[in-house]
């Protein structure tokens, strides 16, 4: 039962994270193409930055206690990076410099998305693997 709960929560968390990052990326791209002004863009991005960090934290934590070490280690670098940003107080997008950092902010998020996709693929594989294990 716990295992089922784990898999469900894993996929829900990963998908939520992907949605949040996608949302931020869309806002950044909109900003780049001038569909939105920097004030709205950054304030909306900043609204989801902390939730994103927290969800990633929960994700790491569930992996840790569920004993899925590999997934945990996969998500650890990102977690560490987030924590570092947070403690340096640099986690929020800065409206005054957003244009100068646009490229960096976008790349940062794309990287996170890539990381998540890898975790996601790995999770599916390991789910399939556990299922086939069970069958045999």
């Amino acid at each position: 039962m716990a295992e089922v709960l784990y898999w469900i929560s894993t996929f829900v968390l990963i998908l939520t994270l992907l949605c949040m990052l996608g949302y931020q990326l869309i806002l950044l791209v909109d900003l780049e193409f001038d569909y939105i002004n920097p004030y709205d863009s950054t304030s909306r991005i900043n609204q989801v930055v902390l939730p994103e960090f927290i969800i990633l934290g929960i994700f790491c934590f569930t992996n840790l206690i569920a004993g899925h070490w590999f997934t945990f280690f996969l998500s650890l670098p990102c977690m560490y990076y987030n924590a570092r940003l947070y403690f340096k107080r640099e986690h929020l997008a800065d409206v005054t410099e957003i244009y100068n950092k646009l490229k960096w902010e976008k790349n940062k998020r794309l990287f996170k998305v890539a990381n998540l996709v890898i975790i996601f693929v790995f999770s599916i594989l390991s789910l399939v693997w556990t299922l086939t294990e069970d069958v045999h």
């Binding site: 780049e32 001038d34 002004n37 920097p38 004030y39 107080r89 800065d94 409206v95 005054t96 957003i98 244009y99 100068n100």
Partner: protein, 1021 residues
């Protein structure tokens, strides 16, 4: 400079050019027109339409990079007598802008200088050809009739890249060295140079009659019109100008670049540069005017300067240009009397713009179809001319009303914007003053000076009668002043709840100045006395800032903050930092130069959003965290004024002048600025005080003539297909009178395929301006050391690439070469590294002063920046002692001296002037007469206590006159006099000696060493 008047030295070498050259009759000349074209001396120059410019540094002409000289010389002499030999192509064709120019030759308009230019023809109206730099094509007035058909020869055949091998024949015929100014001689730049021309000139005259030397008349290229015969490719290939600096001509070498010889110190192996030969910008900033000849309808360089007056045609070429590629814009620069910017009102029509790229109508658009359409010069779209704007074209294709249309003849023009350009009714000028009244402010006497100055400026505030004004003061509480016009005395309202700021009576705090004038007067009279007994130590700066924001949020405007105590209460409080020496040199160092509390950035963003511009005046004698406070100015197009340890008796005058200028200078309100250019090029980064509202839109809540903005561009397409690139700066703003206006500056620059052209047209001032801004920005994320070495690295890279252009062909060991146009770059780079903002480390400059200097440099226009980097040093004692003085004798004191300790004579009196302050240096054994006369009874006392006031004697009056004259050259800042006597430590050290940028100081290298370092890195890395 050894490089000017390039072609000349070769004359004597020319064997028999006289037959043609001397031939007076134009018709005989015609067939050979192209010949002289490749032949340096200007044989005929009956009435030079342009003033002879021989004496001007050739860089204004563009260096003689590929003048005819080199190509001519090698040509076998017989050639000249043999008309059957196809003459070489017209010089301009082969050396510059090959394809594009020809169209333009047919261009109708000739530079205004020309008395009877050929009537314009169809085609683009730009009179834009590059007067081939030192190509001495003669201009025959008689031969000027319009030449519609252009030689097609060179079309599309670009000049060979500099690296191209030298054409055979050229190589064989080495120029007779006899005529060379001795080769080593040319290297000594300044001295040798001046001497060379005269003898040549006389030789020249024998053949050609009196000729202003080395002049290329603006329309010389037109000459190209004659040269139809030279057919095509064959000769072209052969006679192509040898690539700059090809080995065939040592002469070419003198023309192509400047160089400095490294000498070996006798008896040692140390290498040194002769300090006397190093180039120094003793004439200050020289605006580049080479483009003005090509494109006379460009805006004046005071508004817009590019780092190089040409654009690389391809990304690969751009990547070899290691110096910044960009522009420095000062959209509202003060124009001298008589050159006011014309205002154009299109009403009832809207502003005429290109439908697709939104370019404003400018001198470079072309009208076609009998005037019903115009072609946009930027995107080549054919637009309809609005019926209100329609005018017929005359026979030559010009609009008949051209003379009444300044927007079609001038590069700078102001349009009155209709209502589509407003999001709200134009705002009135708003001034809100936020004044610190804590005990230190009271003690310094700042409040008194401020109140007095504001009062004296009330009549001159721009925008009467709509101007609005308001005041608030703060210590540990915030005080508002109700100045409703019905009151006789202002009413003070105190808010002490700092956590939850509210604004009492929001409507009466900001009042119309003309209605409430008496109340405002009464307030300003009583302000100094109101707080004279205040003993409050605290400063609730953050909450006060929020309150001011709330008061101003309806209208926007200008917020002037007078701050004296480190913010200590409420939100935005700051703490002492920067006194920890251990942080310096570590990765945390840059944090000191960043705002400590994100509150300031947030507030700045909010201010900018609501069109509020913040000017910060800081006065504290203790640490006051300019890094944080300056952020407010940085993102709101404001300015930081810092008066460390302000005392009204000493600094009062400076504050008075600068505050006054801030208040009464013409200001553009709620402005946005954008710079447009054609497809293929994009502006990528912007540097200065503003906030970006979208990728390329600068939000400037208030902007004035003292602010400049820099931007860098990059090529988006691998290859540019156009021959001319247009830049258009548009500043949309509300004038103080309440009119919405658009100020438009248009500039056309050639697109070039040759790296040497980029160097030739480089503008040191703009490059240095961009360098400084980039360096200052770097100090916000990295160590000072890194910022300094980045400057050096960039210079080295730029020179290295340049050296590679020439080094292969010439034996240049022990010789540092650089383009004439960049001869001061190294020195300015050094000066930048030694400037207040970048100098040394912890102990060298107090943190606040460093940050303030950084903020200042980010806004300075080029001229002022260069003056700050390389200030003038003037000796005045001789002038003061002179028995009689004529009115214009002040000229004698305009001689600037190199900024080195060796310039200081211990018997002299010197003025050091960096545009922000004067330092008067009294030599040790200065004649007691001077000291006594100038300082009165104080002369023996400590100079730090003495002040300079006018005494009742001739000498003192003369000195005052000198100072006044120096101040008048630039009124943006008031130069306060600091007096220092030789040997007076430590004052002399930090006031003057540390600022002698050519001297070695502490760990910094001197000028000669710096050059040696750069030269070594250029050669060996």
């Amino acid at each position: 400079m050894g490089t000017e008047n390039p072609g000349r030295p070769t004359f004597p070498a020319r064997p028999v050019s006289s037959p043609f050259a001397a031939a007076p009759a134009p018709q005989t000349v015609t067939p050979f027109a192209s010949m002289p074209g490749s032949d340096p001396p200007p044989p005929f120059r009956p009435t030079p339409p342009a003033p002879p410019q021989a004496s001007s540094p050739f860089s204004s002409f563009g260096p003689p990079v590929r003048p005819g000289a080199p190509s001519f010389r090698p040509a076998p002499p017989g050639r000249f007598n043999d008309p059957s030999v196809p003459p070489p192509p017209p010089p301009q064709s082969s050396n510059f802008l090959p394809a594009g120019n020809f169209q333009q030759f047919s261009a109708p308009q000739f530079p205004p200088a020309q008395p009877r230019g050929p009537p314009p023809m169809m085609g683009q109206p730009q009179p834009s050809f590059q007067p081939p730099p030192a190509v001495q094509t003669q201009s025959f007035p008689a031969s000027f009739p319009p030449q519609p058909q252009m030689p097609h020869v060179p079309m599309g055949s670009p000049p060979p890249p500099p690296s191209a091998t030298t054409p055979g024949p050229l190589g064989t015929n080495v120029p007779p060295t006899a005529y060379q100014p001795s080769f080593p001689g040319y290297a000594r730049m300044q001295p040798g140079a001046e001497i060379q021309p005269p003898p040549m000139h006389s030789a020249n005259q024998g053949n050609y009659g009196p000729v202003p030397p080395a002049q290329s008349s603006p329309f010389a290229p037109n000459q190209g019109g004659y040269v139809q015969q030279p057919p095509v490719a064959a000769p072209l290939g052969m006679q192509h100008m040898p690539p700059p600096g090809s080995a065939s001509s040592i002469q070419g070498l003198t023309e192509d670049f400047s160089s400095l010889a490294v000498q070996t110190r006798p008896g040692t192996i140390d290498q040194v540069f002769d300090a006397k030969e190093l180039p120094r910008p003793l004439d200050g900033d020289v605006e580049p005017n080479n483009l003005a000849e090509m494109y006379p309808m460009n805006c004046n360089p005071r508004y817009l300067r590019l780092t190089t007056g040409a654009l690389p045609s391809s990304q690969s070429l751009a990547s070899r240009w290691h110096l910044p590629l960009g522009a420095v814009v000062c959209p509202l620069a003060e124009s001298p009397d008589g050159e006011e910017v014309p205002t154009v009102n299109f009403a009832p029509a809207s502003v005429v713009r290109c439908r697709r790229c939104r370019t404003y109508v400018n001198p470079y658009v072309t009208f076609t179809e009998a005037g019903r359409k115009f072609r946009c010069n930027v995107c080549t779209l054919l637009n309809d001319v609005p019926s209100e704007y329609y005018a017929q074209l005359d026979a030559t294709g010009r609009r008949v009303d051209l003379n009444q249309r300044p927007e079609l003849t001038q590069g700078t023009v102001e349009f009155v914007a209709p209502t589509e350009y407003m999001v709200r009714p134009p705002m009135p000028p708003v001034y809100f003053f936020l004044i610190d009244v804590s005990i230190s402010a009271v003690k310094s006497g700042m409040i008194e000076v401020v109140a007095e100055t504001i009062k004296s400026c009330l009549d001159e505030l721009p925008g009467f009668p709509r101007t609005q004004i308001g005041f608030a003061t703060f210590d540990s509480t915030i005080h508002f002043y109700n100045m409703k016009s019905s009151l006789t005395q202002p009413q003070m309202l105190v808010v002490s709840d700092l956590d939850d700021i509210f604004v009492p009576l929001p409507d009466d705090l900001l009042v119309n100045l003309s209605e409430s004038r008496s109340v405002v007067d009464a307030f300003l009279d009583s302000l100094p006395t109101m707080f004279q007994d205040n003993v409050n130590l605290e400063s609730a700066f953050g909450p006060a800032l929020k309150a001011a924001f709330m008061v101003m949020s309806q209208l926007g405007g200008k917020l002037l903050i007078f701050q004296n105590t480190l913010p200590s209460l409420g939100i935005g409080r700051l703490r002492l930092r920067g006194d920890d020496t251990r942080v310096y040199g570590t990765d945390k160092e840059h944090g000191l130069r960043l705002p400590e509390d994100p509150f300031y950035k947030q507030m700045a963003a909010e201010f900018s959003k609501l069109q509020i511009s913040v000017n910060v005046y800081a006065f504290s004698d203790k640490y006051t965290d300019i890094a944080s406070l300056g952020t407010l100015a940085k993102y709101t197009a404001g300015q930081v004024y810092y008066y460390p340890a302000f005392q009204s008796a000493i600094h009062g005058e400076k504050l008075r002048h600068e505050l006054r200028r801030d208040l009464i200078r013409e200001t553009a309100w709620e402005a946005v600025m954008r710079i447009r250019c054609a497809k293929g090029v994009r502006f990528t980064t912007y540097h200065g005080n503003f906030m970006l509202r979208s990728t390329d839109l600068l939000a400037l809540p208030a902007v004035d003539c003292d602010k400049a903005f820099a931007m860098q561009l990059s090529l988006e397409e691998t290859l540019l297909t156009t021959q001319t690139m247009y830049f258009q700066v548009a500043l949309l703003y509300t004038a103080s009178c309440g009119e919405r206006r658009i100020r438009v500056h248009t500039m056309a620059v050639p697109v070039v395929t040759d790296l040497a052209d980029l160097y030739r047209l480089a503008d040191t001032g703009a490059i240095v301006s961009l360098f400084s801004r980039l360096a200052i920005e770097k100090t916000l994320s990295q160590k000072l050391e890194d910022a300094r070495s980045a400057v050096q690295q960039k210079i080295v890279k730029g020179l290295k690439e340049y050296r590679n252009l020439y080094a292969v062909q010439h034996r240049l060991a022990n010789r540092m070469i650089y383009p004439e146009s960049l001869k001061f770059l190294m020195l300015y780079g050094l000066a930048l590294c030694k400037s207040m903002a970048l100098r040394g480390g912890f102990g060298d400059v107090p943190l606040d002063e460093r940050c303030a200097a950084g903020h200042t440099i980010m806004t300075l226009p080029i001229k002022r920046l260069l003056k700050l980097l390389y200030p003038s040093l003037i000796r005045v004692d001789e002038y003061l002692l002179k028995a009689s003085v004529q009115a214009d004798d002040l000229k004698s004191i305009e001689r600037r001296l190199p900024l080195t300790g060796e310039s200081l004579d211990y018997r002299g009196l010197y003025i050091y002037d960096d545009g922000f302050r004067f330092i008067l240096w009294f030599g040790k054994v200065i004649s007691p007469d001077i000291a006594k006369n100038l300082l009165g009874a104080d002369f023996a006392a400590e100079l730090s206590k003495a002040t300079l006031i006018e005494h009742n004697n001739e000498m003192s009056r003369r000195l005052m006159k000198v100072l006044e004259k120096l101040r008048n050259t630039d009124r943006a800042y008031y130069q306060l006099c600091h007096l220092v006597r030789q040997g007076e430590q430590p004052k002399e050290g930090f006031l003057l000696l540390a600022n002698l940028v050519e001297d070695q100081m502490g760990g910094n290298s001197g000028y000669a060493d710096w050059m040696l370092q750069i030269s070594r890195q250029v050669q060996h890395t």
